[in-house]
Subunit: 301 residues, 2 copies
């Protein structure tokens, strides 16, 4: 393990830098989310309450923040990135609400809070997810870039997010292979993270080289992110995780630690983060993205 | 009743013309739908099978056909309208799949066939709906008009389709008012029908006057369409309807016949269809749209 942990000094500095970025940008994203969501007294009030409940039930705002950082890295400035960036958080939230449903993962808790269907009932939870899905495309359209709409729609469809969920569901309790694992993780996690980075790049008017660089960064980092999530499901403190640990194993979910073991999974995640960082190169302009990548890895140790 | 039925001769001619249009255009739409949906052997195969099952489980293709007719009425020609038109059918299908779920309307049959969750299970039905929702926006983006994306997204969100479903759900078993009834029907039915007509108009490059005309046509006709659906739930032959009759009443659903009675509801629908036709005016170019409007009304008698 000593081979791939960061030195305490570097680790501390990286963590601090990433935490500052996440905190600063997260605050701005939260203000935009609040502004962009319908008020909870506006009819249909219960629907808007349900949407707001899950959007504001915690979360690091990783997807919108990655869109913002990618936008800046590609030369964008100003506020135009925030509405499309928030659309990505709407999509992430919709997918979590549907994923938690009784017929899906049947989760009662997420981030320490009762899941949407526990609070609002199953029908409202389905509709709140559907409404966030639609609202996301309304925001992306206001963002004004049709290429972003096409890109995000593709990333969350049968070849991306939803496809990944299906592969994940179908792999439950079945023998796993490295190929299936990668396919599940690329779909259910890396696709939307990559789309977030690409959204920022496209809106900033990035050239093909930079668009390609953030795409590779997103894929590698997204894969690492899910591997680390799976590791945390085994090793984390239940209170810190905000949901019962060990649930993946209980369900016979296809995970990296179940297939490779924890140590090897950490090695794979470390390599992926290195490859992600290499794709965007080491410069002042890539510092924020690289420190987020390091932060994601750090959670696993 | 004699006051507002069409003369047998006119009725016959109108019906024949509308049926011909629906048959001819429906066939073309079906070919496009088949081409635009992922193959059912393409992985994730079960997801693609579930999507295809519901898209091809019957249906008149009213939304895509309205988009096509509106496109032509507004001066459009060629095939460019078909992908965005099919996107509207994807959205309609997604909303039916979710609407039929056990926690929603809990319907086992639709158009004489088992509903999606009966065949593929609840989790897959939710995901098939989600995937059709995303696929619709991918198609709309390929259509290339960001105004259409914004328009459709708004029409199917909290102020349209999903909002209407919530109002509908919350009205179940409660005292009804004319305002609530109209709000439910405008949201759950008229919004997407109007968006379909507007999609065709926007893609054809319609001017404001024509866009406004098809919007009014859509709202009035959409409201009439839902009123007639509610009437048919009481009066239709069970076999012809493809699902058990009387289910609205059993659930205490907010419907026009429950509030106004069948005769008065028919009168309201007839007036709405007249207003719809008046909005687009009587000319050779509006003949197809007007005959579809008459066809919709005719179902109620």
């Amino acid at each position: 393990m000593v081979l791939y942990i960061l030195s305490p000094l570097t680790e501390g500095a990286v963590l601090e830098s990433a935490k500052k970025i996440l905190e600063r940008e997260g605050k701005i994203v939260n203000e935009w989310l609040d502004k962009l969501l319908p008020g909870e007294n506006e009819p249909p009030a219960n629907l808007h309450k349900a949407m707001r409940y899950s959007v504001f039930a915690g979360g690091k705002r990783l997807r919108p923040i990655l869109a913002v950082l990618s936008f800046r890295y590609c030369g964008g400035s100003g506020d135009t990135i925030y509405p499309p960036a928030c659309a990505l958080e709407f999509i992430h939230t919709y997918s979590l609400i549907h994923d938690d449903l009784p017929s899906m993962d049947n989760d009662d808790l997420r981030r320490g809070l009762p899941t949407n269907h526990i609070v609002f009932g199953e029908a409202m939870a389905i509709l709140a997810g559907d409404a966030l899905h639609a609202a996301a495309f309304e925001l992306l359209a206001i963002g004004g870039d049709i290429a972003v709409v096409a890109d995000v729609a593709k990333a969350i469809g049968t070849k991306g997010l939803v496809g990944g969920q299906v592969f994940d569901m179908e792999a439950e309790g079945n023998p796993q292979s490295a190929e299936i694992l990668e396919k599940i993780h690329l779909g259910k996690t890396a696709a939307l993270l990559t789309a977030s980075l690409r959204t920022g790049a496209i809106i900033a008017g990035a050239d093909t080289r930079k668009l390609e660089a953030v795409s590779i960064f997103g894929q590698k980092m997204g894969l690492a992110f899910q591997i680390i999530d799976d590791i945390l499901d085994i090793t984390a403190d239940e209170k810190a995780l905000g949901k019962p640990i060990g649930s993946d194993r209980e369900r016979g979910k296809a995970t990296y630690p179940a297939f490779y073991g924890i140590e090897k999974s950490r090695e794979i995640a470390t390599d992926l983060i290195d490859e992600a960082k290499a794709a965007i190169g080491e410069s002042e302009r890539t510092e924020s993205l690289r420190s987020i990548a390091d932060f994601i890895l750090e959670r696993a140790f």
